[in-house]
Symmetry: C2
Subunit: 636 residues, 2 copies
């Protein structure tokens, strides 16, 4: 029971679990600590306070539907909290998390009905019938998270009552949604992920078959044609026939991730190829510089190709997490580093952006441009979902905080893999990896790095049997000049990956030096909303200009960057040269507007993941280039 | 009974009615004819087919709620159809329209309850209670349209039964929503417009007082805090304290128009100033080049300042009509031409854009950029509201077609005004104006023009008493060189207005020559989504590039315009020079993208109001400028 979230029965690379990889500090270590000490409890406290845990108690005590609280899918967030607690037990052995999981199991298990059905919203007198609202009812979605929590529990060594709850629920779903029974799908994909993983845990083929059925049924219009159309829940076009991810972004990405699972388990190469094609198209045409996905608030959905407005970016935190889940599955299936590249970009610039440093407030949406400073939310404020421009303590639709919690608790499992030849490190963090390769040979390494503040990654071999094996390190695409140092020898390496194969000895050190020189990034000319703008990146981090760094904290809208200026980095802080401009409104309908150069300035940039941590501010990732715009004005 | 939609008891300019102004042909004459011959019937047929008229029959026959069809506010569209029919009777004396109004009155009047309440959704056994859902129930909104229909009927000379229906409903509203009773407002402003105009028609002060109460109450959070926040229905901030129009755009603009009505009737200068300030801010910062208002599909609402994405422009047809209604009221109140300037821009580029040439299909949303060709809707297709990118025959939420119908039928009333000194012509169309000025002197003129195809407007005096009076002509802001020709004398005039005061004789001709040279329009540099782009306008028309004009009908995304090229106009068609470019995708994460110049081309532009009339196409109003972008690429 080694704590692996995803365990394909066959794959190009083999995942490692929490028992094999430990994050020991640094950027992600701090976040894991905050997650353990604050976020998990914060989520539990809010769900008690708002009665979401209480819904299960009320169910057991016959007080439903009167005492039902929260939106229709709150059960799922309790399950995601349980999943986080399970991984946290696996990660740190936390007794608090252990108690949390046991307590919630004791509350939830009695609610399960004799046939396995378990939900606090449907089926009781005064409630709508079971499965009477597959579009919006979220029953199958809730099961999916229940199953994932049970899998996490099992994989972290506790095959307790909750696994049985999950099995009974899964059996029930397989009964009710079998061919010849309800031949439809749920409005929000997620059950598929849970079913495949539970099949992998239990060996029960039936669960895999049901997941496969759900994948195949989707796109055949078994759901109603809602306001946003059936594309909202990917029910307009069969999964295999999509060109790019479309519709509600979290739905689309959970679906794609589960389609990879099904493809891998059933050997369905065509399905795998289809998802990879959709991933390619989506990453090149429908993805923000941050890795964020989902352009539209309206329907929380993917836009058409190149519709990527930074100010209206929805880029939901959950979509970022779902994208990492998908990338991880594709990396395991193919071994291709581009999937790890996207996962890194998304982890540092979407997932890490969501939680506040204290782990008690969250971004739901992750726009790349904030025009108007936000209003500090009260600690008791429950936002609808993406209302404010500051991190908020909780949401009526609160999928994101629990998703962050489960992801951070299990993050170590996404750093490295093995295959017969050796060990592959995909994500760089202070960490200890101890596993077996090939036919059972023990290999351990310690990774030391100040990444992403610095570009040097040092891998020290701490256990090896002396026979040769291969250490593979990802060389991120953004590093324009990368060096490998092995045994005193320093050689330049290109992007992709570098393989060091030899008979390692204990204390051998392999060093990778990545180029952390800050760099200008020009947008694809097909994206209208950032034409004439340029962004700055350093290493895996997207940077932004934030009003708190401007003279007098004036709006970022007054700043024009000079892309001919030098990007200067000092102590990890990057600054850029530019100009402050002044605008003069003329009364409508007089055309034209005076744009006057004001004063040349040098501005320190903020890592995007850290914006809005110094109070309300305005912010831009894509900064208008002064040269182009002033020319434009002069042309008039 | 002279057919005036808006009759302030005091105003800077006096409106004229359908009895005084007749559109005799040309651009708007054709549209009035299509409206009369096709659109009004089309609306009626659809509302019969979908059971929206039948809802009233079902109510009278006790078949509600079982036989209720359509969304909650379909009653209002039947009233808007009645208003259109009333104006059409006033405009053309149409017996068909006369019969239509009478038939609908006979169907609706029996549904009114003893206390004046009339609605097909609320209050019956099995239906929700009256006024139990002020946020979404639309009862007051429906009354507003009922009252406007009754006013139109009265003002076109038929003080028949429907006016009594409206009076009883208004009395009921004044009873139920008096201070001390339900001290709240309706979720969708509109009743206020109806109440003020009914007060003007009947002299009943109580209706004006109730409208004033509704204006004062709004913004004091008497409505629930919904998903989009109370700003959605302008209930977050009092009307007087708003900075710019905000929230749902049609709601905001109906509210502002009625606030002007109340301000004028009550002599509330502060309220009038507040609305003018909001109008200024909105027009300079929250309005599309077309005059379109409302940037967001999500919540159908205004964006923040300068958030004006062309591809995601909602720019609802009804918001354009509401904006014209507001501009008209502000023009009457102040006499300032800028309001007529905006009305012209909006009429030609939003309102005229909505209906198909045959008057049987409509745009609901009016985006300024279409990336993907639409799908031709079947004639039986009922769209939700803004789903497709082609004009559609009908909508589940079908406010726009009936709004177009009532606006076109009454359009002549928005062309001209009088004051003590003479006659003011604000909008140019082939027309005949015959009215009285000052203390009852008869004045008639014939306006002849090929506007907007050509810029010459000829005003011939056909009736005058020989004593001096002033003819005032608006000189649109976009005309960079305008000439006035009077009695053989030709003199240059600036933008704003020109006044010709003299003792006119019959057959005297005053000519205005506007500069119709096509012109480049650069965007405000604070609008991100069109940075580096330029638009082309000619006269009052916004032009666009449409794929049907490109070689091989390739996507407009391949076209880069050369803003240094000459804009050539021939027979009213404007063409521009530019370049076709080719894009080469590179696999992610390889940065950069090859943008190769392809071939120089000259492309004919389409008037925006005429786009998508030649089948599915892609379209851009704002065209990327080749020079800037290729420079940008070379910098990399």
């Amino acid at each position: 029971m080694d704590g692996r979230p995803v365990v394909p029965s066959t794959s190009r690379l083999r995942p490692l679990g929490l028992a094999e990889v430990e994050i020991t500090g640094g950027f992600w270590g701090r976040r894991q600590q905050v997650n353990s000490e604050a976020t998990i409890r914060h989520c539990h406290d809010w769900m008690e306070r708002l009665g979401w845990v209480g819904n299960f108690r009320a169910a057991a005590e016959g007080r439903l539907p009167e005492d039902r609280h929260g939106v229709v899918f709150t059960d799922s967030d309790v399950y995601k909290l349980m999943e986080a607690a399970a991984w946290e037990v696996g990660r740190s052995g936390s007794t608090e998390a252990e108690g949390r999981f046991a307590d919630l199991t004791a509350i939830i298990a009695p609610v399960q009905e004799d046939d396995g059905y378990l939900n606090t919203v449907f089926g009781r007198p005064g409630q709508p019938d079971r499965y009477s609202d597959l579009e919006w009812g979220h029953e199958l979605y809730c099961y999916g998270h229940m199953l994932q929590a049970a899998v996490a529990r099992f994989r972290t060594g506790r095959a307790d009552e909750f696994l049985e709850v999950a099995r009974r629920a899964a059996d029930h779903v397989c009964d009710v949604f079998a061919d010849g029974r309800i031949e439809r799908v749920g409005g929000h994909p997620e059950i598929e992920l849970g079913l495949v993983e539970l099949a992998r845990v239990t060996g029960e083929e039936r669960y895999l078959h049901q997941a496969s059925l759900f994948i195949d049924r989707r796109g055949h219009q078994t759901l109603a044609d809602i306001h946003w159309g059936r594309s909202y829940f990917q029910d307009d076009v069969p999964v295999r026939d999509q060109v790019a991810f479309t519709g509600h972004s979290v739905r689309a990405l959970y679906l794609a991730a589960s389609a990879v699972d099904v493809a891998v388990e059933t050997g369905d190469e065509r399905l795998l190829e289809a998802i990879i094609g959709q991933w390619e198209r989506t990453v090149t045409r429908r993805t923000y510089l941050t890795g964020g996905m989902g352009s539209h608030h309206d329907g929380e959905k993917f836009g058409e190709d190149f519709v990527l407005p930074p100010d209206r970016a929805y880029s939901e935190t959950c979509a970022g997490i779902a994208s990492v889940m998908l990338s991880w599955r594709l990396l395991l299936a193919t071994g291709e580093t581009r999937f790890a590249d996207l996962a890194e970009r998304t982890l540092f610039n979407v997932v890490a952006t969501s939680p506040a440093p204290d782990g008690r407030a969250f971004f739901y949406a992750n726009p790349l441009h904030q025009r108007v400073p936000g209003v500090v939310p009260s600690p008791d404020f429950v936002s609808n979902r993406a209302a404010s421009s500051l991190r908020e303590p909780w949401f009526a639709v609160s999928c994101c905080p629990t998703n962050v919690a489960r992801t951070f608790a299990s993050l170590a499992a996404y750093l490295a893999t093995t295959d017969d030849s050796g060990l592959q490190i995909h994500q760089y963090a202070d960490s200890r990896i101890s596993t077996t390769i090939g036919d059972g040979r023990r290999v351990s390494v310690d990774v030391g790095t100040a990444y992403p503040a610095e570009g040097r990654i040092s891998v020290r071999v701490s256990e090896t049997d002396g026979s040769p094996w291969a250490l593979t390190l990802r060389v991120p695409h953004w590093s324009s000049e990368s060096w490998l140092v092995v045994g005193g020898e320093r050689k330049k390496v290109g992007p992709g990956q570098v393989v060091v194969e030899r008979s390692f000895a204990v204390d051998d050190v392999v060093e990778l030096e990545l180029d952390m020189t800050p760099r200008w990034t020009w947008p694809d000319p097909r994206i209208d909303s950032v034409r004439g703008c340029v962004a700055v990146e350093r290493g895996p981090l997207v940077l932004c200009v934030e009003s708190v760094e401007l003279p007098g904290e004036q709006s970022v809208e007054t700043f024009r960057v000079d892309p001919g200026s030098d990007l200067v980095e000092r102590d990890g802080v990057v600054s850029v040269g530019g100009t402050l401009v002044a605008f003069e409104d003329r009364p409508w309908p007089v055309p034209g507007l005076v744009l006057a150069r004001n004063s040349d300035v040098v501005i320190s940039l903020t890592p995007y993941h850290d914006w809005a941590n110094r109070g309300p501010s305005t912010m831009r990732v894509w900064i208008p280039a002064a040269t182009m715009e002033v020319d434009n004005q002069e042309e008039r």
